[in-house]
């Protein structure tokens, strides 16, 4: 099912929460709305669900304008961050609720609940109450309740954020598999860039109510539209160094990097940690730096570096060892670097 936001705006009093948002979501897509808290992503989802009114602009679902369609008639399923399981009902009753409201007969209800319970492996839980379940189990039940009625689209509001790290990664994989299996359009809200990167067919990055970039995860990572997107996506975060380009060299007080770029005054160079190699011996053209601290992650090492007044992070192999304050030399893959206008933050 296709979904379209056209110049959607939402204000609470004087506060603009979503500003002139236009998005076109294609049938079967898994779109992730990504951004820090307060960026309007959840409000956007709630407007689509009909839980918030739209201040101006239009939302279309399959060519139908749904601004004034009541929530219960939109035929969208939503998974809440809190799971919102009905505490007084058993798991089976919880899952059957959307069917009961639609007045499906009991036999059909039982059949479909059993089917979904089988798919999500929660059959042994059906007679229990939500409070008897663990977080991960509740998560599955919430999913089951969304899936059971075969809605036009799934809306998910940070569904994994209440799970512990291990379970989150596991459920992330299962969600992706499930969406692949069902093929239903899914809109997923998160502030976790790893979830966005792994789940999405396309990611919409938002900041203070404004859409920053809407593209595939790979393009978001490799061709960020602006400094905000570049900084928000990727872990550890991209390095930024202010300076200017003169005669093919990016320079400031302590850094000089040869680049293939026209002269520019107010510019910020962005370098991903994996594009900085840390050398323990001086080398021709390498930038001298000192080790601020190192963090061994097991499979790799994050090296925090000081270059003059600049702080940089580099990814090094797991066996990289260097004492704090020891001198190192950096080689920067400048062909992979990003450049941003220092005033507008836009990629140039």
């Amino acid at each position: 099912m296709s979904i379209q936001f056209k110049n959607v705006r939402k204000t609470f009093g004087d506060t603009v929460v979503v500003d002139d948002l236009s998005l076109e979501i294609v049938d079967g897509e898994f779109v992730v709305l990504l951004g820090p808290s307060g960026c309007g992503k959840t409000t956007t989802l709630r407007m689509l669900a009909g839980l918030e009114t739209v201040t101006s602009g239009d939302i279309y679902v399959e060519e139908e304008r749904i601004n004034d369609v009541q929530t219960q008639h939109r035929d969208l399923a939503m998974v809440f961050q809190s799971y919102a399981l009905y505490p007084h009902m058993t798991i089976a009753e919880n899952i059957a609720y959307p069917l009961r409201v639609r007045k499906l007969d009991k036999q059909e209800r039982t059949r479909r609940v059993a089917e979904v319970a089988h798919m999500l492996e929660i059959e042994p839980l059906l007679d229990r109450k939500p409070r008897q379940l663990s977080g991960g189990e509740r998560q599955r039940v919430a999913l089951a309740r969304a899936i059971v009625r075969e809605p036009r689209a799934y809306l998910m509001d940070e569904p994994l954020s209440n799970l512990d790290a291990r379970l989150r990664v596991q459920m992330r994989g299962e969600l992706k598999r499930l969406q692949h299996q069902l093929g239903t359009t899914t809109i997923y809200v998160t502030h976790d860039q790893a979830e966005a990167m792994t789940l999405a067919t396309r990611v919409a990055v938002m900041k203070r109510g404004q859409l920053q970039q809407f593209d595939t995860p790979l393009n978001i990572y490799n061709r960020p539209a602006n400094r905000f997107v570049a900084e928000f996506v990727g872990s550890p975060s991209m390095n930024f160094v202010d300076g200017k380009i003169e005669e093919g060299v990016f320079a400031n007080d302590s850094v000089q990097i040869p680049v293939q770029r026209a002269n520019a005054d107010q510019i910020t160079i962005g370098i991903r940690p994996e594009h900085i190699s840390v050398l323990t011996e001086p080398q021709n053209g390498a930038i001298p730096a000192t080790v601020y601290v190192t963090e061994l992650m097991g499979n790799e090492t994050f090296v925090f570096l000081s270059v003059g007044n600049n702080r940089l992070i580099a990814r090094a192999p797991a066996d990289f060892r260097a004492e704090v304050e020891s001198p190192v030399w950096l080689r920067i893959a400048s062909e992979k670097a990003h450049f941003f206008d220092r005033q507008t933050g836009l990629s140039i």
Partner: protein
């Protein structure tokens, strides 16, 4: 050990203070008229008699008063609960323009702030014009109105405790607002609803002032008015009054006991999160 003793002593004093009048009433209702005035009063050793009960409920119309009281109390409580719950839900969940939801709440509460006697005369005149004087309907209307603010404020508090996510989930699942209220929210506030119902019922059951002003004959008199009516110019029928009083206690006692498990939960609902 010593503190435990003190605790029970205080409890005992409180219990005696609360129950002594009730004991007095029960014994009077069972004593013959001669014993009522005996000095010293026979606390335990008297020959029980049911003559006052017979007098009250067979010779006189206390049976009818009892029925009137029950009808008025139950119907007004139900009306107040239905209307008050819907109003409370709306006030708890919807933001009205111009801060109206907050103002309305306060306005509703303010109706409980002036003394009941202030409204007695206007209500009498209104009921007269509506030709509802001396009817059960008049009492049902007045008690419903009287209990409404209480229900609204109690239930609003309980609704505030129910996470919005649950109703929103119900809406997204395809249910209507009313359906979500009935199927999801109300089952969660049942203890609160029960506690509120008990209070409304007690207030309506015991109400004296409006019943006195608005009723005149046996046809619409409630128990409290009927009982007080036995204090006459010439005599005070202590036995009949006590017998009727003893019976009047029973329904509320039974109801409150049946609701006890909800009562405690209802009153402490929201005191502790989670």
């Amino acid at each position: 050990m010593k503190r435990g003793f003190l605790k029970y002593l205080v409890l005992l004093v409180a219990l005696v203070a609360a129950l002594a009048p009730v004991y007095w009433m029960f014994t009077i209702s069972l004593k013959s008229e001669v014993d009522h005035f005996a000095v010293p009063p026979p606390w335990f050793s008297f020959t029980p008699t049911l003559e006052h009960y017979y007098d009250a409920f067979v010779t006189r119309s206390f049976g009818q008063y009892l029925i009137t009281s029950a009808v008025v109390a139950v119907i007004s409580t139900l009306c107040a609960l239905v209307l008050g719950t819907l109003a409370a839900y709306a006030l708890a969940r919807f933001r009205l323009p111009y801060d109206l939801d907050r103002k309305l709440s306060l306005w509703i509460l303010s109706t409980r702030m002036f003394p009941a006697i202030v409204t007695a005369v206007p209500l009498f005149l209104m009921m007269r014009d509506l030709r509802l004087l001396d009817t059960r309907a008049s009492l049902i209307i007045v008690y419903t109105a009287f209990n409404l603010p209480f229900v609204v404020w109690m239930m609003r508090g309980f609704f505030d405790e129910v996470p919005r996510d649950l109703e929103e989930a119900a809406l997204v699942d395809g249910d209507s607002r009313l359906g979500a209220l009935v199927r999801v929210v109300l089952p969660l506030v049942t203890p609160g609803l029960a506690a509120t119902a008990v209070f409304c019922l007690i207030v309506s059951w015991n109400e004296f002032l409006f019943a006195l002003v608005l009723t005149q004959t046996d046809a619409s008199m409630t128990l409290p008015v009927g009982i007080a009516g036995r204090v006459t110019q010439y005599e005070i029928k202590w036995g009949v009054m006590s017998a009727a009083g003893a019976v009047a206690i029973v329904p509320i006692l039974v109801f409150a006991m049946a609701m006890q498990k909800y009562l405690v939960r209802g009153l402490s609902l929201g005191a502790v999160k989670g």
